[in-house]
Amino acid sequence: MRPKHWFYTFPLRMRSLFKRHQVERDLSDEFQFHLEQKSQQYMAGGLSAEEARRKARREFGGLEVSKENCRDARRVSHIQDLLQDLGFGLRMLRNSPAFALVAILTLALGIGANTAIFSVIHGVLLRPLPFPKQDQLMMLWEKNDDGTRSNTSWATFMDWNKLNHSFAGVAAVSFWSPTIVGAHDAETLNGFRVSSAFFDLMGVKLERGRNFLPLEDVRGNNFVAILSYGFWQQRFGGDVEIIGKPVQLGTRAYTVVGILPADFPSVLSFDPRKPAEIYTPLAYDATLPYACRNCHHLRAVARLKDTVSMAQADAEMKQISYALYHEYPTDYSAPGVILTPLEDYLVGDVRPVLWALLGSVGFVLLIACVNVANLLLAWGARRQREVALRAALGAGRTRMVRQFLTESLLLSLLGGGFGLFLAWGGVALLQRIHLANLPRLQDVHIDSWTFAFSFGVSLLTGLAFGLLPAFRASKLDLNETLKESGKSSAGKERYRLRGALVFADVALALLLLTGAGLMMKSFVRLLEVNPGFDPSHTLTLTLSLWGPKSADAPAIGFFEEVLQRVRTLPGVESAGIVSQLPLGGNMDRYGVHVEGKSLPNPEEDPSADRYSITPGYLRAMRIPLLRGREFDERDVVTSPQVALVNESMAREFWPGEDPVGKRFRMGDTKGPWKTVVGVVGDVLHKGLDAPHTIQVYLPNTQFTDSMVILAVRTSNDQALIAAAVRSEIVALDPQVPVSEVATMDEVISASVANQRFGALLFLLFGAIALVLTAVGIYGVISYGVAQRTHEIGIRLALGAARHEVLSLIVREAMKPALLGAALGLCAAFGLTRLLSRLLYNVKPTDPIVFVAVLLLLIGVALLASYIPARRATRVDPMIALRYE
């Protein structure tokens, strides 16, 4: 391809490419002319016309071979060959639509599932956060005495900020749930209070407006807010004049000073479905009661300096924390600081399940490859005549292998194309039905990465299942082909190959189904856990009071009124109020200092979950009262301080004694003593798979929250009652926002969303694998039986009973299947331990699951081989004998 030839040869090449018919005709004409001239020459030499023509023809040699050689000489480039192969391949596929359809569908399922999972993994795990140098962003935690992470406090944060040399900046964050007040209604927002340095530290460039100023991070100047992009669009319609305008939050007007960009992820929200909507400066100072050193309710975010590594920062923070621990021994339960990269914090929890799913779906693709390879082998066997013809015409082995490979790639690319479509649908479905609570899920798109992955996987798949059949099909044993009978050595080898494919299918399917079985069992076990209350027929609503109504006395009165009204509604069995809902995501913990059992360093005393409740709550949730009494009208703000403790707390502090009458202090070691008046059953708070914790219940008259949950036990339609309750509250005060209306069943369901996601998808992929295996075995047996029709006929004619022949076929079919099952079992035994982190209360080698899956698979394999075998034995022996 020397460049100076181009202007001569380029038109030539283009002609060869685009005007093939013309070129072919010219070639024929040229040869024709030659032959005529030769014939004339011989005729002139004395031969008859007929003889002359024949002699000329003979001397020329293989016309077609020559033509092929000419074509080779004119080869434009591999493009023309490729196009030719593609065209031919398409035609062949169109001639066998059933085969093509099955193959493409199988591939679409396999490649599509992989693409879907990959796009989720890419969007959630692999795609970097939209922060510059995000590897430098760390979360800083204090350490509990059991080594777990703990929130930090204002005083500690200030010291960290002052003393460190590792970080370019440190910011503190606290939850904030302001109520935005409109003309007629109010709504509770998800928000955060942040240090003024926060957005700069993250490296966020605001969409509009400006960041907080340091002087706004001071109490009194802090009535400014930055809105999230989504909230700005949704609530204010993307009003471009919003900067500088006030927004009414509670009793105060906050000035909007900035809007965040659309791609700013909600990295601090616990629930990915409730992204942050509004931010305001933290504005703490040392005079505030909750700025104390042991008030652990803040989270800290920091950015490493360019020159400092995480290990170095870790070492320095450790030193600093030891210094602080030394200086304030009663304010810390343990020294030490834990650094977590921000990305880990955001997605670390879901990494295991997502990678496990990718592994699972990879096996599904392998099964699909095995099946399609099988199909291709059968198809190739049918095309032996064609192969022989082409070989006779001069096509080399390489050329034919290339042709078959092109067809395989065509199949896999078509399958990949449909698979992409399936993947798109799958991801959209996932996002819409909130099946999983994955962070960043809403940002997952089918993008260029997904395309690249799909294309790459399609190519690899096409090569994987296509190579072997391509080589087999192009191998030519002319004698065998022309013989036309089914029994040949090539036939026997094909038979063994098909057996190998059944073996592979079953082994892979067993592996997959075992994983699926374990995940399902784990999920079922999780759901069987007793949460400590009765979630059926229980409605919950969140109320938050603001302004003057949020003070203790009016709040208590308001809640009392609400309960009175709600209890009179038809269909309401009982109702109560609680400050934190078990499994609801919110938590409040305090150190408990039990009389006579408190440690010298009060920070080392254990922490309990704190619930403030009204009478009626325990009944509404059906939390059992085990000893003593519930709270009632006697317990008011002025009466002696009382408390209920849960079973675990009773057991921990007063084993073998009666806890009723015992005393403890909560939080403040100088605070009033609280007397235990009763013991209630444990509830699970953090999750169904969380350990039991010690829990304390206080009367809401003695510890009042302004944001509470109303729990209502209903005896009929919950939706109706929810509407009724809401209207009661609105009637009482339309400016009290009612949010998060959900039944306890829904709350529990949401708390296990990710486990359900994992289990369901594993089940889905297991089911696909099972179907593919069944279809594969069915196909193999059908084909094999069709090949052996002659032999079957002979057996039957010679007197074999139908059921003998049937069992022969089935037994031969089951041999590779059983071997495959054995291999699959061994592989499963070794590999399922990779899932152990995802399993709840289930061993990765759970024998019941293994046995059940084995039986299922063997049963399916039996059925898949029985049906075609039965059909075969139904054949009339006379017909079978005549079948060649």
Binding site: K4, H5, Y8, T9, L12, D26, D29, E30, F31, F33, H34, E36, Q37, K38, E59, F60, G61, G62, V65, S66, N69, C70, D72, A73, R74, R75
Partner: protein, 111 residues
């Protein structure tokens, strides 16, 4: 019909180019001329003639045109291009070098 001997196999291009340098002609005429000029020693099989011609055309050393013959039949006539002229010279020079080297070896007297 024998193919040119193995040694000459690679020089088929040279032969074709030379013949076409003299005058444009169609494939059949080329094969006749070659046989004629070489005294029946060099005979190209019809099956290998055309692929060779097509390759030369693809390289740009000869170009083709459909023209009527004397008997008013349509035939594809090849002619040498300027590039082909250069290639011919190059290959001629190579051939001279090769053949004289071989002659030198063959002419060596036994010691």
């Amino acid at each position: 019909m024998s193919k040119p001997s193995d040694l000459v196999q690679g020089t088929l291009d040279l032969l074709l180019l030379k013949i076409l340098a003299l005058e444009p002609m169609n494939g059949y005429a080329i094969s006749l001329r070659l046989k004629q000029v070489s005294g029946d020693v060099l005979q190209v099989s019809d099956g290998s003639l055309y692929p060779a011609l097509h390759k030369l055309e693809q390289e740009g050393w000869i170009t083709a045109e459909w023209k009527p013959t004397e008997n008013n039949r349509r035939a594809k006539f090849y002619s040498l291009t300027r590039l082909g002229q250069g290639q011919l010279e190059k290959e001629s020079a190579n051939w001279s070098r090769l053949s004289s080297a071989i002659s030198n070896v063959v002419k060596l007297k036994e010691a």
